[in-house]
Symmetry: C2
Subunit: 125 residues, 2 copies
DNA sequence: ATTTATTTACGAATCTTTTCGTAGAATGTT
DNA sequence: AACATTCTACGAAAAGATTCGTAAATAAAT
């Protein structure tokens, strides 16, 4: 749980976060919509994730049901922290500037960011 | 060049970006200030990077001098894009909100971000 | 000139992650 | 019942990244 998930593990987590508790078959089918993955490959990854504590599973029926055991926000925080650390010398604003500079934030998104900044500044004007 | 640098490769690039063209010895010495790395390890990584096109090198003297062959901004863009894609479903604002939510942005940094947003808002329409 | 140090090149050991083949158990189908 | 399908478990192959040992060449030191 302390460690960060790998690429593949993150893919699985994203499925579990959005679809909720799922079987290997369900996760694998969804993954195969974007890229080709063997069933046992997905199974193996999810077994490893269970071992690492990223997911928990219900083994009461033959077909196990997996659930995310880590919070979406926690993992994303960790990923952002890591990128901030490794590439942006720990500076949040550098990362933010780089991200905004990509240019694919809509007016509404910019508005929401401005509101967040206001809140962070203390709520004045 | 098309691919993304690994962790270690990024470390080397950061050195070359900030210190400019450097020898393996210089890079390795700097890396060893934060963690222990063998000289030949750093050498090998930089050789691989040369092969991948991440760095170029001047072999005119026995001690080769390496220079970054990729732009700092380009790589950081790619890293941000990748995180945005893999973890935030391609949404810049989600990534930004998460980063700002970490709480380690100073008033001055927030100010600079606000100015960037103003520029982004004013630039179009 | 001989020895010592530094550097590159090469290859291999190690480690992590990803992938998949195979076997055996459980379930479903005919 | 016999056969086919689905699932888990296990192990190992394949691929990528990291680490380092060793040898050969060059340079520096004595």
């Amino acid at each position: 749980m302390s460690n960060k998930p790998t690429e593949s593990e993150l893919e699985v987590l994203k499925v579990l976060w959005t679809k909720g508790p799922s079987t290997v078959r369900e996760v694998n089918d969804l993954l195969n919509e974007s890229r080709e993955v063997g069933y046992t490959t997905t199974l193996k990854i999810m077994q490893i994730m269970a071992q690492k504590g990223f997911v928990s599973r219900d083994e009461s029926s033959r077909t196990h049901v997996y659930s995310a055991a880590v919070q979406e926000g926690d993992i994303k925080n960790a990923l952002v922290d890591r990128l901030m650390e490794t590439a942006f010398s720990g500076s949040a604003s550098q990362l933010v500037m780089q991200a905004l500079g990509r240019g694919n934030a809509s007016k509404e998104e910019l508005q929401r960011i401005k509101e967040l900044i206001k809140r962070l500044e203390g709520g004045e004007s």
